[in-house]
């Protein structure tokens, strides 16, 4: 099936393109792109596009697809279905699977499960074997197998000496090292942010400094080992934003990402003891939320990444302190970003697309997506003004652990197009 988008607003920040055109997607390629009328044949579906935007396909560089090992939460199939339904044509899956992605065998397994899907699955591998924090993984071999970044995500590489070794080992190839920033000795048994509310609710707190001291440490090591590339993941505190802002100003090669829940929700939601507000890092104070938004605005934070973390209902619907951390995000990310960043006046559409497509691909040294005739069609079509109510029953993810169910959002994905396939988003 071919698609003709008439009078669609095409935004491609890397091409400095923001204009209204007609686009014909044919056999997986952009066949025509013009301001004059395009004749459609009977094989072509014509989409009334005057309210729609076409952007390079959205990319989420932080998702958990749970395969291998925890297929009851998510699989690569359901995870990519969820991605496509949320407008994402590319993702990076995290290595905290069972077994962990610390070996080429696991990389090859994931690649085999990712073949022929609409959404491209890129793979991150662990920095240390079994993510235990002691011995670095065979990074060269993993990179040759296609791994795009290294992280022990789910936990931090606690030992400074191991992190230093990893930076040194990665140096000749300039691999990207990424970190789940958590000083674990300060976060034992945490259930929420360490603030006044944690004491009132009788819950163990996760101090903001537990994130910041790992960011600060890693920035020092990265600089010391030759200004290595470093990417703190899902950053959540004002202090972290400040550390990265300063490092960038000082010329350090650091990039970062933030998740929608960290620029929307505060720890006040924990008064409900609802485990859909429990994640790692936890929801923070209003001042942190404001700082994350400020960081997104001034470029300190390069990307929006969801930390899509599926868990089954029976695992989440328990005592808050016993609940696993994390929420899903792929099917709400665009709507939340448009509502709370674009419509709230913090970012324009070009900037949203940079944070959700252009920048993550750039950080990972992936080919940039060009929207022009003859190129493969890797596109997200969305309606930035359409109001809709989140209904988790419609999610394609295997899990439904979201705090955003029933929320009214403004801005919605309509089509995901990639690999000669398209999905009409159903949300």
């Amino acid at each position: 099936m071919n698609l003709l988008f008439n009078d669609i607003r095409v935004i491609s920040p890397s091409q400095k393109l923001d204009t209204r055109l007609n686009i014909l997607v044919k056999d997986g390629f952009i066949a025509e792109m013009t301001s004059s009328a395009i004749n459609a044949d009977s094989q072509t579906q014509i989409v009334d596009s005057k309210d729609l935007v076409a952007s390079p396909g959205l990319f989420d560089m932080h998702v958990h697809f749970r395969q291998p090992g925890q297929e009851h939460k998510e699989t690569i199939q359901t995870g990519t279905d969820s991605a496509a339904n949320g407008g994402f044509t590319g993702v990076v899956c995290m290595p905290n699977t069972e077994p962990a992605i610390d070996d080429v065998t696991v990389v090859e397994y994931i690649k085999s499960k990712s073949k022929g899907l609409l959404t491209d699955v890129y793979i991150s591998a662990a920095i240390t074997k079994e993510r235990k924090g002691d011995h670095i993984t065979p990074m060269i071999e993993l990179s040759d197998a296609g791994v795009v970044l290294f992280t022990d995500d789910g936990s931090a590489v606690s030992r400074a000496d191991v992190m230093k070794l990893a930076f040194e080992y990665a140096a000749p190839f300039d691999y990207l090292l990424s970190q789940h920033c958590e000083e674990h000795t300060l976060t034992k048994n945490f259930a929420m942010n360490d603030g006044a509310l944690a004491y009132k609710l009788g819950l163990k707190g996760y101090p903001s400094i537990a994130e910041e001291m790992i960011v600060a440490r890693d920035l020092m090591i990265a600089l010391y080992t030759g200004n290595r590339r470093y990417h703190p993941q899902h950053i959540s505190t004002a202090g972290t934003v400040q550390l990265i802002r300063k490092a960038k100003a000082d010329g350090q090669r650091v990039t970062s990402e933030a998740a929608p829940h960290h620029f929307i929700l505060t720890d006040d939601y924990l008064t409900s003891y609802d485990s859909n507000y429990k994640m790692n890092p936890p929801l923070r104070a209003k001042s942190d939320v404001d700082a994350i938004i400020e960081g997104l605005k001034d470029g300190t934070i390069d990307c929006i990444a969801t930390d899509h973390a599926p868990h089954s209902l029976h695992e989440k619907h328990v005592e808050l302190e016993n609940s696993p951390n994390g929420i899903i995000g792929l099917e709400t990310s665009l709507g939340l970003s448009l509502t709370y960043l674009y419509h709230a006046g913090h970012l324009n559409l070009n900037q949203i697309i940079e944070k959700m497509s252009v920048n993550p691909r750039k950080i990972l040294n992936l080919e940039s997506i060009e929207i022009k005739v003859g190129e493969r069609a890797n596109l997200t079509i969305f309606n930035p003004e359409l109001e809709w109510t989140v209904n988790k029953q419609l999610f394609k993810s295997k899990s439904q652990n979201t705090p955003f169910d029933k929320l009214v959002l403004k801005g919605k994905p309509i089509y995901s197009i990639n690999n000669n396939q398209y999905t009409e988003c159903n949300l």
Binding site: Y199, K200, L201, G202, H317, E319, L320, E321
Partner: protein, 307 residues
């Protein structure tokens, strides 16, 4: 009193209670205190089944609730997590629904995790009474403490209460702070730095650094239990040092005989409290226990009457 109701149909935390609620509960307790006769029962909860659902060990709270329910003619059943299907992997919600399916209307819940009573209330049509959850709340303890002060002083308003000891891990402290402030008492805290919240002003209670100053200031010393397992976590350097600087001594009271002493129990004599104080006239520890039954009768009656 037939028309009078608490503002919420359950009791999860002390802040659920308004001053009017507390007055209602105290009046009802007074009534039971005055009219209870050994061998006689009230019929307030006739036909109601109350489950004592205890996921954590308890002596006084569980017995107190059990006696209170029986004196109101309720049927009571008891649940101990150590002997239950929880050890077979049954989830908390499943356990609740299992008990519910047997025709239980009220649940007295104690659990080691904060927020569990609220979580259960959201998943049942029955009535939850929080008998202590994690580090969060122990509202009936706070009620019986305030009731004891009300009976002793005639009014709680304006009383100066200093809470001493392991504030940070204590649900009793949290509930007492909330309730005492609702009732207009002045509350201060006295504890080592590692047993106080990082944000020192979150409850708007001044910190008194030395126990001597606290005794000087207070009308009431509310002493908390120091859990011995705190030592293993390294949060205190030694029991000896704690006892020396934060243990309440006999001398504190000989210096100020009108000072009132309370403790939620069980007491670690020799650690937070001098053993000689157990027979001191203004030591209200046993009175607290006695009042606990009447407070719980009042609550069960007020929350269970329409079931």
């Amino acid at each position: 009193m037939g028309e009078l109701k608490l503002s919420k149909p359950y009791l999860l935390q002390a802040s659920d209670l308004t001053t009017e609620d507390v007055k209602l509960i105290f009046d009802k307790s007074d009534y039971f205190l005055k009219h209870y006769k050994r061998g006689e029962k009230f019929d307030d909860l006739k036909g109601v089944t109350v489950a004592m659902v205890f996921f954590e060990p308890s002596t006084r709270t569980k017995l107190s609730f059990d006696i209170a329910a029986k004196r109101l003619s309720a049927d009571t059943i008891s649940f101990q997590s150590a002997t239950s299907s929880l050890t077979k992997g049954e989830s908390l919600i499943d356990t609740l629904h299992t008990i519910e399916a047997m025709g239980v209307q009220m649940y007295v819940v104690r659990h080691g995790k904060s927020g569990v009573p609220q979580f259960l209330q959201e998943n049942t049509s029955g009535v939850i009474l929080n008998a202590g959850d994690g580090k969060h709340a122990h509202p009936t303890q706070a009620l019986l403490d305030s009731y004891t002060l009300y009976r002793h002083f005639g009014d709680v308003k304006g009383l100066k209460v200093c809470i001493v000891g392991d504030i940070i891990h204590s649900r009793v402290a949290r509930s007492n702070i909330a309730l005492l402030k609702t009732l207009g008492a002045e509350v201060t805290l006295c504890a080592p730095g590692t047993l106080l919240p990082r944000n020192r002003n979150i409850w708007d209670c001044p910190i008194i650094e030395s126990l001597d100053d606290a005794v000087e200031w207070a009308d009431v010393m509310l002493v908390l239990r120091l859990q011995r397992e705190r030592m293993d976590s390294g949060i205190l350097p030694s029991i000896t040092e704690f006892s020396k600087y934060y243990g309440v001594k006999y001398e504190h009271f000989t210096r100020k005989p009108e000072l009132v002493l309370m403790h939620p129990g069980p007491v670690n004599f020799g650690i937070e409290l001098d053993y000689r104080l157990s027979t001191y006239p203004n030591c209200l520890i046993q009175t607290q226990v006695t009042h606990g039954v009447f407070i719980r009768m009042a609550l069960l009656s007020l929350l269970g009457r329409d079931l």
